[in-house]
């Protein structure tokens, strides 16, 4: 066996230049592929991360009807039963964030506008998404606060500022009327225009009183200790809740539409990747084919001496594998710092694209993902390709006719 490895290894260095060219073509393909995937994944990660952090959380418990028909009447009673379930999964839950969200009309002396009223627990909300960092004026809400916090865009539209008073009008629990006047205590910049132009925050207790819901919430967000084990935690919760009344949704279910959109996008990248893989495959195949043709006489010699076809085939297979392994390993070694660099220094964008992205509250850059799976997957795919190509010389070696090769 050792002699087979020695032969394969030394054969690689017979045509140093060709070997190096083939290795570097594999290397560049791996590098390009990882960069591509890292860039695409980076954008998705950023989007998902911000959606999960600001809006959906990892897991939500809702009333069974809320997802299909979001309404104040389809709220979840946050009672001892739910508390007990949370308690039982205490070890896996970092914290939970209750929210009561509903449509509301907001009015000043000369302006009226429809908005979303968010009843939040200020401390838990901050823990989830650092909302306090978005405060641009006034003070952040306190628990049981009886004031309001306004998104900056909405404050501009209504032409109000800290200290002004607003009238809120809405439909409360089971058809009751919800009405009240509230002072503006603080203003937050929520960046994404659609959200920034129609969001109002109120303390959860005040919102529950305003809508007359008692101890009800529209969603109870669960933040897991380990986000990687979201599915498992969701399963545990699903087994404990009363499915007739409650429903457990993960961020993947909550963001289903967005994720579907991304999958569609991934198809485009897949085509690019396929082209890359085909280039690698052909490069490798070409090298191996020439090696086979050049060495017909040598194969005839080896067979004459009594070396088994299987042994010669193993030598050829090793050669193909060595080349691609070298390419893959070097490709990964080089792409790790490159991806890491882009991860820490995302490519800055300019022009319309930059503006569009900035509108959504993101930095105007192309982010990269440093997910180790990217490297592993690319390495695996290229290795599988070269493994398959390595089978070609094996097939060929078993078909060489000694007397013909000897000529």
């Amino acid at each position: 066996m050792k002699i087979l490895l020695i032969l394969a290894w030394r054969n690689l260095w017979r045509n140093r230049k060709r070997t190096l060219i083939t290795v570097s073509s594999v290397l560049f393909a791996v590098l390009l592929a990882t960069l591509f995937v890292s860039m695409e994944k980076g954008s998705y990660e950023r989007l998902i991360d911000s959606m999960v952090r600001y809006s959906t959380g990892y897991i939500q418990i809702q009333d069974v009807l809320f997802d299909e028909e979001p309404s104040i009447d389809h709220t979840l009673l946050f009672d001892e039963e739910i508390e007990a379930i949370l308690k039982k999964n205490d070890e896996q839950i970092a914290f939970h964030v209750p929210r009561l969200q509903n449509f509301v009309l907001v009015a000043t002396e000369n302006n009226t506008r429809g908005s979303i009223l968010n009843g939040i627990d200020p401390e838990l909300e901050i823990r989830m998404n650092d909302l306090n960092e978005d405060l641009v004026k006034g003070e952040f809400l306190k628990p049981d606060d009886n004031g309001l916090m306004l998104a900056e865009g909405l404050a501009g539209i209504l032409n109000v500022t800290v200290g002004d008073t607003l009238v809120l009008l809405g439909q409360g629990f089971h058809g009751s009327t919800a009405a009240g006047t509230y002072p503006v205590k603080g203003i937050v910049d929520l960046k994404i225009p659609e959200i920034n132009n129609n969001t109002i925050y109120m303390s959860l207790s005040e919102a529950q009183w305003f809508y007359g819901t008692g101890n009800r919430v529209t969603s109870l967000i669960i933040m897991p200790e380990n986000p990687a084990r979201t599915q498992q935690l969701a399963e545990n919760l699903r087994m404990m809740i009363d499915p007739e009344w409650h429903r457990v949704l993960t961020w993947e279910e909550l963001l289903e539409d967005l994720l579907n959109l991304m999958k569609f996008d991934v198809a485009g990248t897949m085509i690019m990747m396929m082209i890359l893989y085909i280039i690698i495959a052909f490069g490798l195949f070409g090298t191996i084919l020439t090696m086979l043709i050049e060495r017909r006489k040598e194969f005839a010699l080896l067979f004459s001496l009594g070396m088994k076809r299987a042994q010669v085939a193993i030598v050829c297979f090793f050669e193909a594998l060595f080349i691609s392994m070298a390419g893959v390993v070097l490709g990964i070694i080089i792409s790790i710092p490159v991806v890491a660099w882009f991860y820490h220094h995302p490519i800055p964008l300019s022009g319309d694209m930059a503006e569009a992205i900035a509108d959504y509250g993101f930095e105007p850059v192309l982010p990269f993902s440093a997910d180790p799976n990217i490297f592993l997957n690319q390495a695996l795919i290229v290795l599988i390709i070269s493994f398959l190509i390595g089978l070609f010389p094996v097939y060929k070696v078993f078909r060489i006719h000694i007397m013909e090769a000897k000529k």
């Binding site: 002699i3 032969l7 030394r10 054969n11 260095w13 017979r14 006489k297 040598e298 010699l301 080896l302 067979f303 004459s304 001496l305 009594g306 070396m307 088994k308 076809r309 042994q311 000694i402 007397m403 000897k406």
Partner: protein
């Protein structure tokens, strides 16, 4: 003396040309242990074809080949591979050595495939390279050796594993006169010392007289078979 190789009515007909070519035509011969035989004849007389047949590299279209009493022409390919490895040493006209291995590794190669103990292999390879006068070239690669030196390494390899017999197809054809005689000297010496049957083909009159037995082929047939002629005349 023991018979190592025996052919009966051996025949190889090539059908792929305009008319069928009887490259080997009804050859019945015996080779005894320790013989040093030259197969001579003009180009196209069937020397290579005959050696390939008794070396188990090619299949006859008629007749039989017995090696130590075993009929080899009916063997399966995989059996033949193993048979060659265990019993036959080869020296070809050119392209004898594995380019990526050193002289010593080339000489050890057959023993390595036979899975001989490492120490024995080392000792034998060094000894054989000494015998062919290349003890200073143990670690040279084939491309660092002259044509004559390469053929000597090939002879050392063929004999190192102590096969039943060695077949050398025109081993001197690409060599100058001096190297050719030198190689013949070595082959003759090793044939005697190791008592290994050695059959070589040539169309070179200069080297024929070194052989103990000279078989002349014409158009695939044996036209002459002289034993011990010239050597005893000197």
């Amino acid at each position: 003396m023991k018979t190592v190789i025996k052919t009966t009515n051996l025949q190889k007909i090539y059908n792929n040309s305009v008319a069928p070519v009887k490259a080997v035509n009804d050859i019945s011969l015996e080779f005894k242990e320790g013989e040093f035989t030259a197969i001579v004849g003009p180009s196209g007389s069937g020397k290579t074809t005959f050696l390939n047949l008794i070396g188990g590299l090619d299949k006859p279209t008629g007749g039989e080949i017995f090696i130590d009493g075993t009929e080899i022409s009916t063997m399966k390919e995989s059996e033949l591979f193993d048979f060659r490895l265990r019993n036959i040493g080869f020296v070809f006209q050119s392209y004898n050595l594995i380019p990526v291995l050193t002289a010593k590794e080339n000489v050890s190669f057959i023993m390595l495939l036979q899975k001989r103990p490492k120490a024995e292999m080392e000792k034998r390879a060094t000894e054989m390279l000494e015998q062919v006068g290349l003890s200073d070239k143990l670690n040279s690669r084939p491309n660092q050796l002259s044509g004559g030196q390469q053929q000597r390494v090939a002879v050392a390899r063929a004999l190192a594993s102590k096969p039943k017999f060695v077949l050398a197809d025109e081993p001197t054809a690409n060599l100058d006169t001096e190297s050719a005689f030198n190689l013949l000297d070595i082959m003759e010496k090793l044939n005697k010392e190791e008592n290994i049957t050695l059959i070589f083909s040539t169309h070179d009159q200069r080297v024929i007289e070194r052989a103990g037995r000279v078989i002349t082929l014409v158009d695939g047939r044996v036209s002459e078979d002289e034993v011990g002629s010239s050597r005893f005349e000197v």
